[in-house]
Symmetry: C2
Subunit: 347 residues, 2 copies
DNA sequence: CTGAAAGCGCTAACAG
DNA sequence: CTGTTAGCGCTTTCAG
């Protein structure tokens, strides 16, 4: 291993005929009171050898690493990946790097947090799938000088930032939209109760029904567990179709479930949206590609990720704690799968 | 900021009534020649205060950070995200963390590499979208003691690992499959020429045609630029359908293009797969959710990512350079969109 | 306005 | 088998 030894600040100093502290000063922009000539010389040498100070050494002395952790609970749903892109982009612009970690449960998360602390990250953003977790390990973060913000998850403590969106209200809005389109029998393929967001969506479904003056019928709610097999979603859809009276619209637990529901409905000989309307939740990349294009509730994951990082950075740089709360709207993206407004009321 | 100061190895030593080196030894498993009693004592203290040595300090002295970089060229395609999950999983099991970076072009990539070097990463894996890039900045890595492996991209140098799959051959296999199903007029919605993989797929298309004794007709090849708007893909599909004789099957540049092609065909009144077959490339998460479920070429991204990390780790730990090359198969996943084998030859 | 020197928290010789 | 000590590469007082 002939590892060409890395260039050090000392060597730069020698080559530039100045002391290390001078080099350090130009490196860190403390260049106000410095002879222009010296500055030039140092800069030239630095550029010539492509010198870049070791972040590790710098981190040891400053206590900051310009690195943040991003811990994802659910790395499977591609939607959450978009959070990585957003955070990474903003982070790099601000001179930060991001270490991505996957933490399935609370146990895993504790371990990850411990690791990230050892790594000396300046802050951590947690993107949750909203499982109910033990949060004590998050509480210790601010005291240790590590900023933290959670996305889509209950706030663990006052000093921890939080960004959320309203699953409940947006699903209710979807119900209302369907109602306005003339639908009176609206079903819901609900997600697993283990997910906070799935429960919120179910609750939003009931809320929407209520606000439209529609009755809640338990037989119109079936399981569409997005962590499970698509066959189950199709089966639930078939059950819905077999009901008398059958629903004329369904809101899926997420876009995948909605896609399968739509297919199942179509394969049963019904046309979407003419005979049956389908709406999803997520607005995944494929939603506009389906036939018909899927109307869905757009979850503001990107915005949330950006907001979280911005919050983190703010709390990191400013003395006085900055913003600690951000609520984002989740809005219905109307495409083709629920038909146009020209539909007449039906029974 | 009342940052509770971090516990140091010295304090652990004092609390355990031993020297720092002893603590360091137990921390690093050099515990063979040590009184069991001492070992116990140190371990208890470490556990009690939840002490975890600073990776930063350790990194400074050892020259290793147990961190690897993962640089993605195309962070948009959710498919590449699965690489993150794979690498992160394996990495963490091996005691590594991964810093994820997005680098659009060569310029960006140079910058990222420089940054990652400053951060002291032990290795870097590059996931490419196969744009033709300047690779000189990769060449310097091994000499600097940083392992590197590229995925889906030409090998920049002998000391750099590489994992690839054969786009060409797999598309040819898809053509052959279609031919076996009775299709004689097979079209291709090609990707942009700026992408190496798109060119390889086009080449595979021609190769497949040849091996089936089918003529290449340039009017059967239209643009389906997956970086562009879906409207363009639909337009290209319409052009194909307007041809006389029209093709009876199409291979999309990727799954998204295929999805839109399928929809366009269906909206033109044709049934898929009965009247027209569609096959995609990627096997994205939504492929099995379409109606009908999309037959597609499964790109081994996960395996590639895993292979890349394994290679990296091998080259990192073993003295003698380990494996430097890995070719993975990309196989056709037959679902519903191209019909069963019962189709009879048509003209 | 520039240079010398003291660490940051840890590892790894090297003595005892 | 355990303790002392010299750095890793950098930042940052503090003198000159």
């Amino acid at each position: 291993m002939s590892s060409t030894r890395r260039v050090t600040i000392r060597e730069i100093a020698e080559m530039s005929q100045v002391s290390v502290s001078t080099v350090s000063n130009v490196l860190n922009g403390r260049t106000t009171a410095m002879s222009a000539e010296t500055l030039q010389r140092v800069r030239r040498v630095v550029a010539e050898v492509r010198y870049r100070p070791s972040s590790v050494a710098r981190g040891l002395v400053t206590g900051r690493t310009s690195t943040i952790g991003l811990v994802l609970a659910e790395i499977e749903t591609s939607l959450f990946f978009s959070a990585i892109g957003s955070v990474e982009h903003l982070a790099r612009e601000a001179g930060y790097n991001v270490i991505v970690c996957h933490a399935r449960g609370a146990r895993d998360e504790r371990e990850v947090v411990s690791l990230l602390r050892a790594k000396g990250v300046d802050g951590i953003v947690f993107v949750s799938n909203s499982e109910k977790d033990d949060d004590s390990h998050l509480l210790a973060l601010p005291a240790a000088g590590i900023q933290a913000v959670v996305i889509n998850r209950p706030r663990p403590g006052r000093e921890i930032g939080r960004v959320t969106w309203d699953d409940r209200k947006s699903v209710a809005a979807a119900v209302e939209h369907l109602h306005a389109l003339g639908h009176r029998r609206i079903a819901h393929l609900r997600g697993p109760h283990s997910r906070q967001s799935a429960k919120a969506r179910l609750s939003g479904y009931r809320m929407g029904l209520r606000s439209c003056g529609l009755p809640f019928r338990s037989e119109y709610v079936r399981l569409g567990d997005y962590n499970d097999d698509p066959a189950g979603w199709a089966a639930s859809t078939c059950e819905l179709l077999a009901l008398d009276p059958a629903p004329t619209a369904v809101i899926g637990a997420d876009d995948s479930v909605a896609a399968v529901a739509m297919r199942t409905v179509q394969q049963a000989g019904l046309r979407v949206p003419d005979d049956f309307a389908v709406v999803g939740v997520d607005d995944q990349m494929f939603a506009p590609l389906l036939n018909p294009a899927l109307t869905t509730i757009r979850l503001p994951i990107r915005e949330a990720a950006e907001g979280a990082f911005t919050m983190l950075l703010g709390n990191l740089t400013e003395e006085a704690g900055g913003m600690r709360d951000l609520r984002l709207p989740a809005q219905l993206v109307v495409r083709e799968s629920c038909g146009g407004a020209e539909r007449t009321a039906r029974n």
